[in-house]
C-alpha cells in the first residue's frame, strides 16, 4: 500500500506542512464538535424530554453495540488511513459513506488531474474532491430526505408506512449480509459465521431466552475465534481490504 506521507519535493515542504497543521487542527476541532452535537440529540431525548429511560439501559445498549462493532471502530480507521491520508480522515469519518462515495470521488479527481496516488498532489486532490462530494451530498440529503422525504411520509397511506416500519429491518439486513459476504471474499469465514449464527438464533436463544440481548455479541466472538482457529494459509498472506461495507 502506498502512503500519502511519503517524501515530497523539498520546495513544497513548508506550504504542505502548513496544510498539514491547518487540516489537523481544524479537522480535530470540527470532528469533536460533530461528535458532541451528534450525541447531544439523543441524550436530550433520553434525559430532558420526559421519557423515562434509566441510565442503566443506555449502558447495556452501549455494551451490546460495543461487543458487536468495537473491533470495527478501531480497524476501519486503520485500514482507510493509507488510502485517505491524514487530512481526509477527518472529513471521511464525519461525512460517512466512505467506500461507496468518498473514495470513488477522490480517485476520479486524481485521475482527472493526472495526480499519481501517494503524492502530495494526489492528497490535495482527494481533499478537494471530498469537499465537492460533501457539498452534493448535503444538498441531496436536505432536498430528498429532509424536504421531499418528510412530505412523502405525510402523504403515503398508513398501510404502506406500517409495512415499511415492520419489514424494513429484514430487507436492510438481507441485503447487507450478502454485501458483506461478497465484499469480504472469505468463504471459510462466511460458512463459519452462518453456522455459528444459525446455532445462536435457532438453538441457543430459544433454549436460553435470557441470552437474547447478547446473542449478536456471542455470535461475533465465536465467529472470530473459530475463523482464526480454522484460518487458511492463504488468509495469512492476503492483504486486508478495507474491512467495511456500506
Amino acid at each position: 500500500m502506498t502512503s500519502t506521507t511519503t517524501a515530497e519535493p523539498s520546495t513544497g515542504s513548508t506550504a504542505m506542512a502548513d496544510f498539514g497543521r491547518t487540516t489537523s487542527r481544524w479537522g480535530q476541532a470540527t470532528m469533536i464538535a460533530g461528535l458532541l452535537i451528534s450525541v447531544a440529540g439523543p441524550l436530550y431525548l433520553v434525559f430532558a424530554s420526559g421519557l423515562d429511560v434509566a441510565p442503566a439501559q443506555l449502558w447495556i445498549a452501549f455494551a451490546a453495540v460495543a461487543a458487536t462493532f468495537g473491533i470495527i471502530w478501531i480497524v476501519e480507521p486503520l485500514t482507510y488511513y493509507p488510502v485517505l491520508g491524514p487530512a481526509a480522515m477527518y472529513q471521511a469519518f464525519m461525512i460517512g459513506n466512505i467506500s461507496n462515495k468518498l473514495l470513488p470521488a477522490a480517485l476520479i479527481a486524481q485521475t482527472n488531474i493526472g495526480a499519481k496516488p501517494g503524492t502530495r498532489r494526489a492528497e490535495l486532490a482527494a481533499v478537494v474532491a471530498i469537499c465537492g462530494a460533501a457539498a452534493v451530498h448535503l444538498v441531496s440529503l436536505a432536498v430528498f430526505v429532509g424536504l421531499l422525504g418528510s412530505w412523502l411520509i405525510s402523504i403515503i397511506p398508513p398501510s404502506v408506512l406500517l409495512v415499511t416500519r415492520l419489514y424494513v429491518l429484514p430487507t436492510v439486513l438481507g441485503a447487507v449480509l450478502v454485501q458483506a459476504i461478497v465484499s469480504m471474499k472469505q468463504p471459510r469465514t462466511t460458512v463459519i459465521a452462518l453456522a455459528v449464527s444459525a446455532v445462536v438464533v435457532f438453538a441457543v436463544v430459544p433454549l436460553l431466552p435470557s441470552l437474547a440481548m447478547m446473542s449478536t455479541a456471542i455470535a461475533v466472538l465465536a465467529t472470530i475465534v473459530l475463523a482464526w482457529f480454522f484460518r487458511g494459509k492463504s488468509d495469512a498472506v492476503a492483504v486486508a481490504a478495507p474491512a467495511h461495507i456500506e
Binding site: M16, A61, W73, P104, G132, V160
Partner: protein, 253 residues
C-alpha cells in the same frame, strides 16, 4: 405523550407514536449543527488546499477540476443513500435518519446498532414493543456508535501520521481474518435473527438478499458500478414491495 413509564405497559400497546418524538425540534437543531460543522470543515479544508496547491504544481484549474469531479461522482451515490434514508424515515424519523444514515454512519451499522439496542430492552424495532423510550435508547446507541468511530479516528490519525510502528506492524493475518469475521458474524446473526419473527420477515429477507446478490453479480458481469451503489436501495424497495403484497390483507391494503 410524555406519560411516565409507570403508566405504560412495558410491551404491547405502549405509546408507539415514534415520529412525534423523533421530530422533536431539538433533534432538528442538532441535525442543522452537524450540517453546519461539515460546511465549516469543507470551507477550511478548501482554503488550506488552495494555499498549498501552488507548492505542489497544482493549478487553480486543477483545484476546480478536482472539486467538480468529486461533486459529479457523488451525485449517484448520494441519491442512492437518499433512497435508503427515505425508506428508513418511518422507523427513525427525519432527524435521526439525516444525521445517522445520511451522514456520519451508514445504513448497515446504524440499523444494526438500533436493532441491538432495542433487543437489549426486550423490544423489536417497528412492532408494538417499539415505544418512544426504545426509540430514544436505539437513537442513543446509533449515535454513541458513530461517536466511537470518530473517537478512534481522532486518536489514531495523529498516531498514524507520526508513523507509529506498533500500529503498522499489526499481524497482517489477524487484520485479514478478524475484521471480516466480526462483520460477517454480526450481520449473519442479526439477519438470521429476523427470520423467526414471521413468514413475511423471511420473505422480505430472502427477496432483499436475492436482489442484492443479483445487483452485485450484474455489476461484476456487466462492469456497471452504479448497480453496486444502488444495490441496497433497490433491495429495500423490492423487498418491501414483496412484504406489502404478502401482508396486504393484514394491513388493510
Amino acid at each position: 405523550m410524555h406519560q411516565p413509564l409507570a403508566l405504560q405497559p412495558l410491551t404491547g400497546t405502549g405509546p408507539t407514536d415514534i415520529l412525534s418524538v423523533a421530530n422533536n425540534p431539538v433533534l432538528w437543531i442538532c441535525v442543522a449543527g452537524v450540517f453546519g460543522v461539515i460546511v465549516i470543515q469543507s470551507i477550511v479544508f478548501m482554503r488550506a488546499a488552495r494555499r498549498a496547491a501552488p507548492s505542489v504544481d497544482m493549478s487553480p484549474q486543477d483545484i476546480r477540476t478536482s472539486f467538480r469531479s468529486g461533486a459529479v461522482s457523488a451525485i449517484g451515490p448520494s441519491l442512492a443513500v437518499s433512497l435508503v434514508a427515505v425508506a428508513l424515515l418511518g422507523l427513525f424519523g427525519a432527524p435521526a435518519v439525516l444525521s445517522r444514515i445520511g451522514l456520519i454512519g451508514s445504513a448497515a451499522y446504524d440499523v444494526s446498532a438500533a436493532g441491538i439496542a432495542a433487543s437489549s430492552m426486550g423490544a423489536k424495532l417497528g412492532d408494538a414493543s417499539y415505544t418512544q423510550a426504545v426509540f430514544a435508547v436505539a437513537f442513543f446507541a446509533m449515535s454513541i456508535g458513530g461517536a466511537m468511530w470518530m473517537l478512534a479516528t481522532l486518536v489514531l490519525t495523529p498516531l498514524l501520521r507520526k508513523g507509529d510502528a506498533k500500529i503498522r506492524s499489526i499481524n497482517p493475518a489477524a487484520m485479514a481474518v478478524v475484521p471480516a469475521a466480526a462483520l460477517i458474524g454480526a450481520f449473519a446473526c442479526l439477519g438470521l435473527g429476523e427470520l423467526p419473527k414471521s413468514g413475511i420477515h423471511v420473505l422480505s429477507f430472502l427477496v432483499s438478499a436475492a436482489v442484492m446478490g443479483l445487483c452485485l453479480l450484474l455489476a461484476r458481469k456487466l462492469g456497471k458500478s452504479w448497480l453496486r451503489e444502488w444495490g441496497l436501495g433497490l433491495s429495500i424497495v423490492v423487498g418491501l414491495t414483496a412484504a406489502y403484497l404478502a401482508a396486504g390483507p393484514a394491513v388493510g391494503a
